[in-house]
Symmetry: C2
Subunit: 428 residues, 2 copies
C-alpha cells in the first residue's frame, strides 16, 4: 500500500471520490451498531447462566462461619467471598473488603470519603484550596468523571507501552502536596490494553509523596481478562511492592466480577493495608449495614476459587478473541503502511486504542455515527473530554456479534480513510 | 399491684432483696439472647426462600422493555421494579429511583451528595459554617450516625403519639436557614411504632423553610409492616401533600424490601419530585453504571405488585405478632400500675419504645447485659447517644424465637424492677 502521506493532491482527490462513494453506499445500509462501551456480548453472559441455579429455595444460605447470609450484618463481606476476591487480586483475605455490585461505586465512595472526611486522619479535601489527580492518558472516562465531579484538577500523564511516564509522575507526586492520587489501570489498560512494566510498578511503589494522603487508585479491572492462553501479561503485586518500598498504605486496589459473571450483578472488592481498611470501615459502618451476601455466596459457589475464575475466563476469551482478531486483522489489512493510523495489539482487556492523524478523531467518530456506528466519543479518553491532539479513539469490540463487528469495522476503516484524506488535502 | 412509687422504704428494701435473689437465679441460666436490633427471625426469612428459585439458568433475564438485565446499564432501575416500589410507597413510577440493597445507603449518599455538591444547585453544605438537622426523639440511631458523621448539628424534637412536636419544627425550619433537614420515620416509627397524624403530615408538607434546600428525609421503612389485619395505621401520602402545599420538591421518601424479603439482599428505592430526580441522577451517573437489575427482576417476579407484598407481609406478621404480644403481655402483667414504666403498643413496625423512671435506662440495659440479654444501648435512640433523661429503651422482639423471647422479657422486666427500686431508694 502506498502511504496516504506520500500521495499527491491528485491521488488524494481520486481516492476521496472513491471513498465518498463507498461511504454513501455504507450509509444506505442503515446500520445500527455499537462499538462504544466495554460491554460483554450476550454469548458471554450466557456462560454465567448456571450461576442462576446454583442457589435455590432448598439451599442453606449460611456462610462458612455460620452466619445467615439472608439477614443483616457482615459489613466487609463473608469470609469465603473475601478469599475469592483475594485470590483474584493476588492478596490475602484480611486485606480485602467485599462491597456491592460495582467497583466504580467503590472508587467514587473512596474519593467522596476523602473529600468529606480525609484519609486516615488527614485534612478533608473539601477544606483544601486545591486537590489534584494525575491521569495517565488516554485513560478511562469514568475515572475522570469522578475526579471532575469533585472539582479535583486533573493532570495528563502520557502513557507508553510500559505505563505512565514515571519521570513526570515522580516530579508531581514527590513535590506537590496538592497531588493526592493517580488513576491507574495497571493491567490491560483502558483503552490501550497495555500492562505496566515491573520497573513502572516498582517506581510507583517507591514514590515519596509530598502528600501523606496520596494514594495509587489501582483499578485492576482486567486482572483475569486474558485474550490468549499462551500470551498473558503479568504484573507485579502492588500491595507487596508498596510494602517492600516502605509505603504499605499507599495503594487502594479495586477489582470486580462485572466482566467475569454479570455486569451490574457481580461482586466488587477493594484490597489495601490493614490501616486503610480500619479507616474505611469506620466510615463505611455509617453508610451501610452490609452488602448483598447472598450474591457473594452465589459467586463463591459458582466460581469457587482462582482456578475456577481462570477456567471461566478462558470461555470468555474464546468468545471475544475472534472479535479482537477480526478488528485487528481488518486494521492491519486496510491501514498498515497507510501512514494515517496506529493502534495497539493487546493480550487482554476490553479495548483497542487507535490513533488517527492529529485533528481527525472527532471527525471520524462523527462520520461513523452518521452511518449508524456508535464509537466511544472522541476525547472521552482524556480528562475534561479534551484530547489535545484530537487523535485517540477507543475501539470496544466485545458487544457486537461477529457479523455486526465485521460491518462496523469496515465502516470505521472507511471513515478513518475518508477523514484522513480530507485532512491531508487541507495542507496540499 | 401496689405502685412502687407509693411504697415505703421498708417495702422497697424487702422487694429489693427478693428481686436480687431472682436476678442471681437468672444470671445462673447463662442466657445469650438478643433484643437489640430490628432483625427478622429465621422463620421470617424462610418465607422468602421461594424467591431463590424464581429465576434459574433457563430464565430469560430481560426487563419488560427488552433490556438484558444481565448487562451494564439502566441507572435508575428497570421499569417493573420502579412500578413495584412505586406501589409500595404509594407514588407514581416516574417518581421512583430504584437503588441497590440498602435504603440506609441511599440516605447516606443523599446527605453526602448535599454536603459535597449541594441540593438542586444550592451551596454545598461543606462550604457552610453550620448545617442543622431536626431529630424527632427517641429516633433511629443510624439516622443520627449519618448526620453526626458529616458534622451536622442535631436538634432534638420531642415525639408525641401524633409525631414530632410541630410547633417546634415550624419554629426551627421556618426561621433558621441552617436547618436543612428533618429525619422522619412517619409510619410505625422507630422506636415508638407511632404513625404521624394527618395534621402532622399536613403541617410538615406546609412548612415554609428558611432554607431552599431543606428537605424532609421521609424514611418510610415500615410502610407495609402491619402487625394486624384489623388494626392498620394509615398515613397521608407525603409527595401528594407536599405538592398540594406548593412544596413539590421538599421531600425525599425512602423504602426498601429489607424487611419484606432478605435484609442485605433486598431492593431499596427513593421517591421524590421529577426535579429532585433529575438533580440526583446527574450525580448518580458518575457514581455507578447501575444497580443489580437481576435482583430487581427477582423481586418483581416474587412479589409481583402491592397485593403480592401485602399477602407476603401477612405471613411475616403471623410470625412476629405473637412475639410482640408476648412482650406486651409480659409488660402489662408485670409492670402495669407499678408507676415505674410506660411503653408503646404499636400496630406495626419492629419495635416497642419503653420508658423507665428518669435515670434508669442505662442501668437496666447494663443489668440485662450482665445476665446475658443484649438490648439496644441506652441512649442510642438519641442524637450523640445522649438521652437527656436516661429513660428510653428500645425493645426489638423479632429476632429471638418465642421461647427465647419469653426468657429475655422475663429478665428485662426483672432488671427494670430492680433498677427502679434502687432508684426509688436513693430518695428515701
Amino acid at each position: 500500500m502506498k502511504a496516504y502521506t506520500e500521495m499527491s493532491k491528485e491521488e488524494l482527490l481520486t481516492l476521496k471520490a472513491e471513498l465518498e462513494q463507498k461511504y454513501q453506499d455504507a450509509k444506505a445500509l442503515n446500520l445500527a451498531l455499537d462499538m462504544s462501551r466495554g460491554k460483554p456480548a450476550a454469548a458471554q453472559l450466557d456462560l454465567s447462566m448456571p450461576m442462576m441455579s446454583i442457589l435455590d429455595e432448598k439451599s442453606v444460605l449460611k456462610a462458612e462461619n455460620g452466619f445467615d447470609c439472608r439477614n443483616y450484618g457482615v459489613l466487609d463481606g463473608i469470609p469465603e467471598a473475601k478469599q475469592l476476591m483475594a485470590e483474584m487480586m493476588g492478596v490475602k483475605a484480611e486485606n480485602v473488603i467485599v462491597y456491592g455490585n460495582s467497583s466504580l461505586n467503590i472508587m467514587y465512595d473512596t474519593v467522596a470519603r476523602s473529600v468529606v472526611h480525609g484519609v486516615c486522619g488527614s485534612t478533608p479535601w473539601c477544606k483544601l484550596d486545591k486537590v489534584k489527580f494525575l491521569c495517565p492518558v488516554p485513560g478511562y472516562d469514568r475515572h475522570f468523571a469522578i475526579t471532575e465531579s469533585f472539582g479535583i484538577e486533573m493532570i495528563n500523564i502520557p502513557m507508553s507501552e510500559d505505563g505512565p511516564d514515571m519521570d513526570l509522575v515522580e516530579k508531581y507526586v514527590n513535590n506537590d502536596e496538592a497531588v493526592k492520587g493517580i488513576w491507574c489501570v495497571p493491567m490491560y489498560s483502558n483503552p490501550q490494553g497495555v500492562s505496566y512494566s515491573d520497573e513502572t510498578v516498582r517506581r510507583l511503589a517507591a514514590l515519596k509523596p509530598a502528600a501523606k494522603d496520596f494514594r495509587l487508585y489501582w483499578d485492576n479491572a482486567y486482572c483475569v481478562h486474558h485474550l490468549y492462553e499462551d500470551k498473558q501479561d503479568v504484573i507485579l503485586n502492588i500491595l507487596d511492592e508498596c510494602a517492600k518500598a516502605g509505603n504499605p498504605d499507599m495503594v487502594y486496589q479495586f477489582a470486580s466480577t462485572s466482566k467475569v459473571t454479570f455486569p451490574g450483578s457481580g461482586v466488587a472488592a477493594m484490597s489495601t493495608s490493614e490501616a486503610n481498611i480500619a479507616d474505611i470501615k469506620k466510615k463505611m459502618t455509617v453508610q451501610t449495614i452490609g452488602h448483598d451476601k447472598i450474591n457473594q455466596l452465589r459467586h463463591v459457589k459458582f466460581l469457587k476459587n482462582i482456578d475456577g475464575i481462570k477456567a471461566h475466563m478462558s470461555k470468555q476469551a474464546a468468545v471475544i478473541r475472534p472479535k479482537f482478531e477480526a478488528v485487528l486483522t481488518k486494521l492491519e489489512n486496510e491501514l498498515a503502511g497507510s501512514g494515517i493510523a496506529t493502534w495497539t495489539n493487546p493480550n487482554g482487556g476490553y479495548f483497542v486504542s487507535f490513533e488517527t492523524l492529529d485533528g481527525c478523531a472527532k471527525a471520524v467518530v462523527q462520520k461513523c455515527k452518521e452511518a449508524g456506528v456508535v464509537m466511544t466519543g472522541a476525547g472521552a479518553t482524556f480528562p475534561y473530554g479534551k484530547d489535545p491532539k484530537d487523535s485517540n479513539i477507543r475501539i470496544a469490540p466485545t458487544l457486537p456479534t461477529p457479523e455486526e463487528l465485521s460491518q462496523a469495522a469496515d465502516l470505521f476503516v472507511l471513515c478513518v480513510k475518508l477523514v484522513s484524506v480530507e485532512k491531508l488535502l487541507e495542507n496540499k
